[in-house]
């Protein structure tokens, strides 16, 4: 079972307390964007085999959204961090790079 540490209430929450929110760090395309860019924002997802950044909500707990970095192959969780950021923390990226040689980065 997937277990994530909620960065807001500090609870080690299991999957049944959480609600998934899909891929993290998407940039919203507003009305000024082209149709192609908007379509890409709506539908194009990385769906990587390996390191994945996701949004999760501690739905049955404190109710807050947070981010999680985990591996879709090994199911290893690299860490969780608050949602008030536009990119993953540098320390976490460094830790992932160390663990996953040849990882192409989060972008």
């Amino acid at each position: 079972m997937l277990i994530l540490d909620c960065p807001y209430c500090g609870i080690r929450a299991d999957e049944t307390e959480l609600a998934p929110g899909g891929e993290a760090h998407l940039t919203r395309v507003g009305p000024e964007g082209s149709d192609a860019a908007f379509e890409s924002y709506l539908f194009d997802r990385k769906n990587p085999k390996g390191v994945h950044f996701e949004r999760w909500r501690h739905a049955a707990g404190c109710g807050k959204w947070f981010h999680a970095a985990r591996n879709t192959v090994t199911l290893e969780v690299y860490g969780t961090y608050p949602a008030q950021v536009t990119e993953p923390p540098k320390a976490l990226l460094a830790a992932i790079s160390k663990k996953v040689p040849g990882w192409e980065g989060w972008q």
């Binding site: 807001y8 209430c9 609870i11 049944t16 307390e17 049955a60 404190c62 109710g63 807050k64």
Partner: protein, 192 residues
């Protein structure tokens, strides 16, 4: 004025723990910036309770103030006191980006008493209820089977459970079923 009644009108179930509807209870939800010094001061002034730390629940006489999320507190008090408390909080929080609302009618409060109370809750919730991981003084928001709920332990042999009033019957039956005689597991047997 109409008379306030709790969701299940004081229902009781006696299994290997005793489950009771706690009767009419006052609850005030308070939202704001818990990190701001002015917020803590305003809450203390109105309720007499110190600002609880992460997941903490503090008691001041009949009032309990619980940490619910980084921007939310829940005040549990006497039923008659709640509207006044919400008004007093609104007054002391004036000028801040904060909110205090009497939610007594939207919630239900149950009390579960007995040596096996940890185990009864553990049957229903993914929360770690092992002594040492959870105990008196902590408010845990989690789920009880299929609904959201929160609970804390006033002492080692009782649990106070808060759920939404709309799911009060479901939650009560659920806990009663988990506490039915003969279903003891002996998970957290008290130390001899």
């Amino acid at each position: 004025m109409s008379e306030a009644v709790s969701a299940l009108g004081g229902a009781t179930f006696e299994g290997y723990c005793i489950l009771r509807d706690a009767g009419p209870t006052g609850m005030v939800t308070i939202r704001g910036d818990l990190g701001a010094a002015a917020f803590g001061k305003a809450v203390k002034k109105a309720t007499g309770c110190a600002l609880p730390k992460q997941r903490e629940i503090v008691t001041n006489g009949g009032r309990r103030l619980a940490w619910m999320s980084p921007d939310e507190l829940l005040l549990i008090c006497d039923q008659g006191e709640a509207p006044g408390m919400a008004a007093a909080l609104a007054e002391t929080l004036k000028g801040q980006h904060a909110l205090a609302l009497d939610v007594s009618d939207a919630r239900a409060l149950f009390r579960l008493e007995g040596a096996g109370c940890r185990e009864v809750i553990a049957k229903l919730s993914p929360a770690n209820l092992a002594p040492g991981a959870f105990g008196p003084g902590e408010m845990r928001r989690t789920r009880l089977a299929q609904v959201a709920g929160a609970f804390h332990m006033p002492d080692e042999s009782s649990v106070e459970i808060v759920v939404f009033r709309s799911v009060a019957r479901y939650a009560f039956d659920l806990i009663a079923n988990a506490a039915r005689p003969g279903s003891e597991v002996g998970l957290f047997a008290p130390a001899p």
